[in-house]
């Protein structure tokens, strides 16, 4: 199956740039077989392991498909394939003559390299696949190379990603140095390897976008073409999560790791969503929301680690399974939301919410699908986001109820999750309502058009996935159990430690009732006569679209509470006098970490670099003095050594 996937993906890469149809077919077959391979593992196929005969870089390829890899493979297959379909409509050759072919090429490379990341069981090949995946991500983000801000976003991504990769260099090199081989596998029996996990943590956390290492994420996801954003947000950042889960499973982790990951995860969730709420750019909002969701996943993972350390199987399993399920869920609904945002962008040419509005009329499909995604991402029942958040909550509550020491991590985490959940709801009410409801704020919004069939189809599949996990969570338990068992074998799969079937039933009832009630009320309203009239504006005679509540205003209250953390910047001129003119109010939420922390540090480094530049001044005489200086310094070094 994987062979088919490999062949199909390679087949897609090679002729892909020239022939879109063949590329699409190959991509669909390839991603389909990736998905099928994963499903085969869930269906009970034994773990698959394979060593190649040939050596690559001096090492034999070692691939391993176990429950955990399969879990992420499934997501990769689904989103990768749907993204390819979506791209047909979203980034066609006639509109993007120069970049569409490149996009197809790198898409194939990215899917393939992510697949290898998930399968590789050799440090060297893991790194190769990892960096290839990072680079293809960079080229996908900057498909449209003409725009400066896109290039800047791409560079930031590349820089951050490389910083993470260098941590991984150190990690894998140290691991290989200590174990004597590049081979990876369970090595919990060697406690001396424990401290190395911090290196892996730093490296993977950058990719996953955990606070405060998320700096690259918003601009990269916002500026990438939307199908790429979906893949980046849905799958690529999950590679970081995969790395964290994988190596926390294989390595013996220091006791503090569980606490740290939980803490950082909770903080990430809260701050991420607070920043999301503050955004005016639709895709940036979604990007920050990805930060939030990675935080939620990290809370689950950290809880799982605490559980493993505690020896308590119950809540640890639940938390880890919740985290894993949230990986899927976020992949599904975030891809859906990015697709929908892309369809809005495609139709209107802008991502600024304050220029949109009332799109439901011209793009009903997108509006409905976005709403589903928004409900899912806010963690509302009966959709999938709720299921995984529920599992994580439940695990944390179990910790608290059991009064285990880990409760001191769990209680703040629950609180932060609750705050994050409420803020997410606010953020997505804002996003959905400002974009799709009310009256169009600008001409572009009024002249929008619905997206094409391939884009719509991809979104429908994702929405169906969201609903399916929400309604039948128990169906997915065996797969999650398998992944959990791969993480920690003593937690081998068993009955779910939570009443998933009951939850599914409740959700199903809820859906039915909601549909019935909605339809019923609509019918009864129609039966009693339905008149249309202008929106009631308290007697104001000529309401205009610009009078609508803006996104910024909607978010202002809650964002204000976080202003002291992020240092919101505000410029305003109040209207004065009886005939006020030229009043304005501009609020901007700075990228706090980037602008307040990284920026000054980078500035300092650049200053040092500028100073170093002065040393290369072109005067030969001084260059010769450098020579003498080098001689003296080395001599001193040797002399000092000899004195000792």
């Amino acid at each position: 199956m994987l062979l088919v996937a490999l062949v199909a993906c390679v087949a897609a890469i090679v002729p892909g740039p020239r022939w879109p149809r063949i590329w699409l077919a190959c991509m669909v077959v390839g991603t389909g077989s990736i998905l099928a391979a994963a499903v085969a593992v869930f269906a009970g196929a034994p773990d698959w392991e394979w060593w190649s005969a040939v050596r690559v870089g001096g090492e034999r390829l070692h691939l391993r498909l176990d429950g955990l890899s399969a879990w992420f493979m499934a997501l990769l297959g689904l989103v990768g394939g749907l993204g390819a379909i979506y791209a047909r409509g979203y980034w066609p050759d006639d509109a993007h003559a120069d970049s569409a072919a490149r996009g197809r090429l790198w898409w194939g490379v990215m899917i393939l390299s992510m697949g290898f990341v998930l399968l590789s069981s050799n440090g060297l090949h893991f790194l190769i696949a990892w960096e290839l995946f990072a680079l293809s991500g960079f080229f996908l983000i900057t498909l449209d190379r003409q725009r400066r801000e896109i290039r800047a976003a791409g560079w930031l991504y590349l820089a951050a990603s490389h910083a993470g990769t260098l941590c991984l260099f150190a990690f894998f090199a140290a691991l290989a140095g200590r174990t004597g081989s590049w081979e990876l596998g369970p090595m919990r029996a060697h406690p001396e390897l424990g401290p190395l996990f911090w290196l892996a943590f730093a490296g993977f956390a950058v990719k996953a976008g955990l606070f405060p290492l998320h700096i690259w994420l918003p601009s990269a996801h916002a500026n990438a073409p939307s199908h790429v954003s979906a893949l980046m947000s849905g799958v690529a950042i999950k590679m970081g999560v995969y790395g964290l889960i994988r190596f926390s499973g294989w390595l013996p982790t220091p006791a503090a790791v569980g606490w740290t990951i939980t803490g950082i995860g909770a903080a990430t969730a809260l701050l991420g969503i607070a920043l999301a709420l503050a955004q005016n750019d639709l895709k940036r909002l979604l990007a920050y929301c990805s930060v939030e969701n990675v935080g939620i996943i990290a809370v689950g993972l950290g809880g799982g680690l605490l559980g493993a350390a505690d020896g308590d199987a119950g809540w640890g399993r639940l938390l880890l399974a919740g985290a894993l399920l949230h990986v899927w869920n976020h992949g599904l609904f975030k891809a859906l939301l990015f697709f929908a945002a892309g369809s809005v962008l495609h139709a209107t040419g802008t991502r600024e919410m304050s220029r949109l509005g009332g799109l439901w009329r011209s793009m009903p499909w997108t509006a409905v699908l976005f709403t589903i995604g928004a409900m899912a991402v806010s963690g509302l029942p009966p959709l999938n986001g709720f299921v995984s958040e529920w599992m994580i909550y439940l695990g944390l509550f179990d910790v608290v109820a059991g009064r285990s020491p880990a409760a001191w991590a769990a209680m703040p985490a629950v609180l932060m999750l609750a705050l994050a959940g409420a803020l997410a709801l606010a953020a997505f009410v804002k996003a959905g309502a400002v974009v799709f409801l009310g009256a169009p704020r600008t001409r572009v919004a009024a002249e929008a058009h619905e997206c094409g069939g391939s884009m719509r189809g991809a979104m429908v599949v994702l929405a169906a996935g969201c609903l399916a996990i929400g309604l039948a969570p128990a169906v997915f338990w065996p797969a999650a159990g398998r992944a959990v068992a791969a993480w920690n074998p003593p937690w081998a799969a068993g009955a779910p430690p939570a009443p998933l079937p009951t939850l599914g039933l409740a959700n199903a009832v809820l859906v039915t009732l909601a549909l019935a009630a909605g339809a019923g009320l609509w019918a009864s309203a129609r039966a009693r006569g339905l008149r249309r009239s202008l929106t009631w504006d308290c007697g104001y005679a000529s309401p205009a679209a610009r009078m609508q509540y803006t996104g910024g205003a909607m978010a202002a209250i809650a964002v204000g509470w976080f202003g002291w953390i992020f240092g919101a910047e505000r410029r305003q001129r109040r209207p004065r006098g009886p005939f006020p003119a030229g009043a304005h109010r501009i609020e901007r939420m700075p990228e706090a970490v980037l602008e307040r922390l990284i920026g000054p540090v980078a500035g300092a480094v650049m200053q040092v670099a500028g100073a170093a530049r002065q040393l290369q001044h072109g005067r030969l005489q001084y260059y010769l003095v450098y020579l003498a200086g080098g001689l003296t310094a080395l001599g001193t070094l040797v002399l000092v050594g000899e004195m000792k």
Partner: protein
């Protein structure tokens, strides 16, 4: 024997100071040339008896260092029409002081270096160190290309002087190879000096700061 040797080396050290203190290019060149001749005589003095290969090398050294290279430099100097070094990086008095301090330091350092008894009594090591230092000061402290070349050559003279320690063990082939390289090197430098003179219409190396960050 040692007294002759020390006398010659002392002479070379004196020439160092002369080169440092002189603002006129011809006298710097002359000091360098005389120093070359003096040093060229050393092998013969050290070996004490007459070996014709040693004598040949000595003769070639003297010829190249005392006459060939100085002639080349004088030609370049005339072509560029400069006689004096004006506004050096390191002034003449400071250069002299530096040179004096360097010479004293060289003697002091040489005292502390572990030397074989037959070398401990000679000025070979301090002389070599002082000459190298002088060459370096000229290299760094002068702005006219020709002065810098002189500095470079004086530095090479110092190293040559140091090489006298190994006179008995260095194969002749290696020695002549080194000599050949030096000669070619100076010729190449001469050519470049000539090109710089043509390209920049000056031999002031302060003008050579186009290439920088």
């Amino acid at each position: 024997m040692n007294s002759t040797l020390n006398l010659l080396i002392g002479l070379a050290m004196g020439l160092n100071l002369l080169a440092l203190g002189s603002s006129r290019l011809p006298s710097v060149i002359r000091a360098m040339a005389v120093q070359g001749v003096v040093l060229g005589m050393l092998p013969v003095v050290i070996t004490r008896e007459f070996h014709w290969p040693v004598a040949l090398v000595a003769l070639v050294t003297m010829g190249v260092k005392g006459f060939g290279i100085p002639a080349l430099l004088r030609r370049a100097m005339r072509a560029a029409n400069i006689e004096r070094e004006i506004e050096p990086f390191i002034g003449f008095v400071p250069s002299l002081l530096l040179g004096a301090i360097g010479t004293i330091a060289a003697v002091a350092v040489a005292q502390r270096l572990p030397l074989l008894p037959e070398h401990a009594g000679t000025l070979l090591v301090p002389g070599a160190l002082a000459t190298i230092f002088t060459g370096f000061v000229l290299l760094v402290g002068r702005v006219k290309a020709i002065s810098q070349v002189c500095g470079y050559l004086i530095m090479e003279n110092g190293i040559y002087l140091f090489g006298m320690l190994l006179l008995h063990s260095t194969p002749l082939l290696v020695e002549s190879g080194i000599l050949l390289d030096l000669t070619v090197g100076v010729f190449v430098i001469g050519i470049i000096v000539d090109r710089i003179q043509r390209a920049f219409d000056s031999l002031d190396t302060r003008k050579l700061t186009v290439l920088r960050e």
